[in-house]
Symmetry: C2
Amino acid sequence: MTKTTERVEAQWIGLDWGTTNLRAYLMAGETCLAEARARKGMNTLATRDDFERALFDTVGGWLPQDPQVPVRVIACGMVGARQGWREAPYLRAPTTPIGEPRTVPTSRPGIVVEILPGISQDEPAEVMRGEETQIAGILAAEPDFEGVVCLPGTHTKWVRVAEGGIVGFRTAMTGEIFGLLSERSVLRHSMDEEWDEGIFAAAVAEAAADPAQAPLAFFRIRAQNLLHDTIPGESRARLSGLLIGAELAALGAFRDAAAVRVVGNATLAGHYAKALGALGQGAILHDGAAATRAGLAAAYRALAPGRAT
Amino acid sequence: MTKTTERVEAQWIGLDWGTTNLRAYLMAGETCLAEARARKGMNTLATRDDFERALFDTVGGWLPQDPQVPVRVIACGMVGARQGWREAPYLRAPTTPIGEPRTVPTSRPGIVVEILPGISQDEPAEVMRGEETQIAGILAAEPDFEGVVCLPGTHTKWVRVAEGGIVGFRTAMTGEIFGLLSERSVLRHSMDEEWDEGIFAAAVAEAAADPAQAPLAFFRIRAQNLLHDTIPGESRARLSGLLIGAELAALGAFRDAAAVRVVGNATLAGHYAKALGALGQGAILHDGAAATRAGLAAAYRALAPGRAT
């Protein structure tokens, strides 16, 4: 029994708990032993009991039989929002990415969930929850990194990093707007599942060169499709390219770095790298899940266990 | 009986049949005798029978008892789209706003629906269905009008009018994007039912002065609401102002007229007039429904009845 207890004590659980999904990692130090995913994001959960049930439904198989045995659980993301399990107040930028967590007891005496704070910025007003942990992951691997990190997603974050911390950041709702326009607006009638790389790059360049014209460009995708021949993948790639090109134009001051670090899943990060390339800028890709795990591991190392806050 | 028949022959029906709604007007010459509305737009109807049933459900009470008695029915809008009752091919701009209709027979021998064509533009690709009839209505009242007409709605149209016709036009999806962002995006959590005029005008001016920054301004509405005090109506008015300000910036070349004619319902047209005012430009408001009726009446006068096309 002693041996088993030791093995379990050396393990911990990292949670990337967002608006839509819960991603859980069984960790031993820096090593990921197992991974679980569930569509049990903050938006699907109402009460504290819902959060606890979602957690144990997802990671229950990883827990020791004895509920008294402590297992650290460290979480980042919207689970710390006001509508989450427990609000973890924002750190205010400029700041180091990892701050003191708020803790939530569970019905298992050995498990107290540590929820990492998000980061806010006063002027311009901005907030993030989860991306700061990915920044911590990048800094764990490269403590001296200074430059710009782009974290594409529903709400793409652009983060300026220097001196081991987050200096400032901006948010573009590009992912959410693309989803709404391609799935719920009149443009949905012109979308297919294809993707044309050349049209994407041309649309990025067009919108970046004259972003003020973007408001008139969207409906034209539909009109083009009604009046002229369009090729498979044209409408989807053009809509995405226009939105990302306009985003990059707005972020001029955030793109001075030699190469932007782009953190995310391969497809989406690849689109941003391609878009940056269309404007003559380099990009270095990082896997988003790996960055999150590295950031959670940095928090695991940095924070003493067993605090009640 | 003779007298009754004469009264009915002098009447006709105008239809404004859009994507969402069907609006019907019982007309005697230029005079509107009665009006009916139903949520029976193109999007709610699949088959030809659906369209006929929607028509007779809505205007049946206006029809003479004898189904042989002819009553002209003139329609504009999405009813003439490919997914409508019968496709009425576009006129190509530059063009007069009223073109030859396509006709649809009904099960009532006396009723053949005349569907007016929409208007297309090759470069840049644009289409409209319904707004051309409102332009015809404005030209009916002021045949010498030359200038710019703004028709705000789900898809706001900006139309340059000269020499009695439509020279060219542009479309901004501002209304649809506002609806999606305020009702379906993360910004919905920050919306209330209020409206702040001062914040609206300031947001118009801000976006018009620097439209390239618009992509970063949307999420900030949410962050502002989370981090700082916001007043009732701030978020909604700011979102609308940013979108309309960016639209006006994109339309620079379409706003050279001394005063833009704004055609629509009082609330929405009022917002556009206010936005134009914030940029120092005058606006003259026209009631949208009255413009549609006047345009349908112009078609009634201009087109000989009884054609089959």
